[in-house]
């Protein structure tokens, strides 16, 4: 490849990297500021531009007045996200396998329509569902509980799992299942003994999307909880008062990003092995 292309590519990668990192660096810097360091205009480097303060960080682990303790929300968030992702992944994988291997027919409704029905759930803007979900969870006595949120998140995440896994299974030759059946497996056994062990890349991708969309949901976590169950995104907006403590927000943002950054590393491993081929199409 010629030099021009190479330079262009390097510049592009460099530029984009800066763009990606910039908000994080800014947040990192801001998290060590106090009100004076903020109101005097943009500053960047601690000790040089401003006198650092650890207030932003300590407030996240302080109960009560000054700060919000994020340990509780962190655990709640993790619990809701993990359970809902797991349930969605299990149900979604089964459904996706069914849709990719069997023919379903209910009147004029066929496989493609069922798949569309799953995916179309994501078209619905969350606001639409806020009140009905509220009433539904109220009837179930599930408002402000992890269970209630899991229920709602499953509806949110299931379509994603179905989407990814349907495409993934479409890439696994049908003969593999047939072979398992000729080798003495029931259709269900074939799935569990043969297809599932070969679906790890797809499950990783689907699981990743579930985690991302679950961890990052704000709206339902916000509407359907009161005081007992608090998720991270909701805690952060509780700092979004008319006077915004930039320092706590920044520290908070960095902490809440951390767990999923680990997910990025896992995903990258699978991606570079090229095993996600069928997982995304």
């Amino acid at each position: 490849m010629n030099k021009f292309y190479h330079t262009l590519k390097t510049l592009f990668l460099l530029g984009w990297s800066i763009f990606v990192v910039f908000p994080f660096l800014w947040a990192l810097s801001t998290s060590f500021k106090d009100a004076n360091a903020i109101t005097s205009g943009a500053t960047y480097i601690p000790w040089v531009d401003f006198e650092p303060s650890t207030q932003g960080w300590t407030s996240l682990f302080t109960n009560g007045s000054q700060g919000i303790n994020i340990v509780g929300p962190f655990i709640d968030s993790a619990a809701v996200t993990l359970i809902a992702s797991l349930v969605s992944l299990i149900l979604g994988t089964l459904a996706a396998y069914g849709l990719s291997r069997f023919e379903y027919r209910l009147g004029f409704v066929k496989n493609a329509d069922i798949t569309f029905f799953f995916i179309s759930q994501r078209i619905m803007p969350p606001i639409v569902l806020a009140i009905p979900f509220f009433l539904m969870l109220k009837e179930l006595g599930a408002l402000d509980t992890i269970f209630g949120l899991v229920l709602v998140y499953v509806a949110l995440l299931l379509p994603i799992a179905v989407w990814v896994m349907t495409d993934f299974f479409a890439g696994i030759p049908k003969e593999l299942d047939e072979m398992a059946m000729t080798d003495g497996c029931s259709p269900i056994g074939a799935f569990f003994r043969v297809i599932l062990p070969n679906s790890v890349p797809g499950l990783v991708v689907a699981g990743m999307f579930c985690l991302i969309f679950g961890w990052n949901d704000f709206f339902f976590a916000f509407t359907l909880t009161f005081t007992e169950t608090q998720l991270l995104p909701v805690s952060i907006v509780s700092l979004n008062s008319s006077v915004t403590p930039w320092w706590s927000l920044s520290a908070f943002a960095l902490i809440s990003v951390a767990p999923l950054a680990l997910v990025a590393i896992v995903v990258e491993r699978y991606m570079s092995r090229g095993t996600m081929s069928g997982a995304i199409r």
């Binding site: 109101t39 300590t58 509220f134 009161f226 907006v237 509780s238 008062s241």
Partner: protein, 511 residues
Amino acid sequence: MIKISKFIGPATLLALAVAAATPAMAKDYTQFGIEKDLPGTCSYEATDAKDYSGRSLNVITHAIPVIGEPTALHAEQFAALTGAEVNVVHVPFGDLFQRIMIPFQSDQNAYDVLFYASLWIGDFNRFLEPVPQKYIDSTGMSDVTDSFTGVATWNGEMIQYPMDGDRHYLKYRTDIFDNAEVQAKFLADTGSALTVPETWEDYNKVAAYFNDRDWDGDGELNYGSAEVAKRDDLMFSAFISRAAPYAKHPDVKGGFFFDLETMEPLINSPGFVRGLQLFVDAQKSFPPGGNNFGLGDEIFSFGGGQTLMSYSWDDAYVQANQKDSRIRNMVAAAPLPGAGEVWNRDTGTWDTFATPNRAPYMTWGWSSAVSQMSEEKEMAFDFLCFFANEANAKNDLQIGRFGVNPYRNEHLDVDFWKGQGWEDKTAESYVSTLSDMEESQNRVFDLRVPGVSQFMSSMANGVAEAMAGQKSAQDALDGVAKEWAEITERIGKDRLRAAYANVVKLEDNEG
């Protein structure tokens, strides 16, 4: 003694640990961060005597820090004193209403205690528990000023628990306005003397003059005016402040937003249009991004010394005068600018006033209440009473970001503020401005009717369209009036009139 500092939270925890270790100091409550316990119905000592252990209280409040932080602080103290479990949830302003309203409408007992914007009383009154007589008779309550007792009352019954007093007034930099050199230069440049603006036209003029210059010599540009102009962030209050003197004629009774008789919206009447035009015009003296400023930005901007003038709640003023502030004692308060011409809707003419017409806007403030559905009403009221006890109120008043502002007569005491390290002019102008508003006969109150959010949201949207240059002031407000008429239609004129009558009674000084 523990100094009050911004590290109050950690300090409190530390203090609590100390307290646990030394039970002998039982009557000394300084470990809670107050200077001393003050006598009163719900003093620390009185609250300490109660035992709510094993019971819990759910509280919804505003985001941290405004009101949210004192709520959390006092919840923590209340829990320590009584043994109760107090859960506090913090919600941004824009969503506070729905977070309270959805459980109300669906009969879900979600929160015992609610902190919210007092103007929502028109919607919430059906769901609130009236304040029991024994709290009305409490020492703290009897000192609450008439305006804020009025704010807490609905159809003659007190259903909100006053814990904050709010109004808009003008804040300005004395280091500029009182500076002889600057005054001389201003006179030379403009041909008129530099005085604290008496009308909004003056305000705009002064703001424009001082815009985009480094008049405090710190190397950064300074600006003329910081205002809350972000659509969904309390901008409606700023607009009402600006429009009130043009639209609220002291001799015209029977409604400011609506004609109480016909329930026709007055929002597109010439007075409001003039107010909006001046608001639009003022944008050129805003700091960069100023037309997207929320209250927090305004506080940072004026409180941080970036802008010359500002008007809104007390927060920026208190912030500017905190110990670590760069502009401490360089600010003073004054009544909101008035209007030389006022629209008289009875005669359909502009009346000229030799002394500018002032229409102090008793802007909605924070209030609190107990839900009817609560199963812990007594504890809930005890908590509110404790929240607002004499010692706590004094403490909260001193911390700008808490957003708690004078609402008792004892708070309007120059010596108290001087005791905080405020100098003469800063303290005196503050107290006199606030006191005078209490005495005004031409006050404007919020539209405390059912569906107030719809009205305000519609108005804010129209104002924002004019501010963004998408529509002219008249067109924008015509659009708002049309929407208001539709909302009125949907809600029902009679229901609305019944509610609005409460407001008009206060405005017409009949309440």
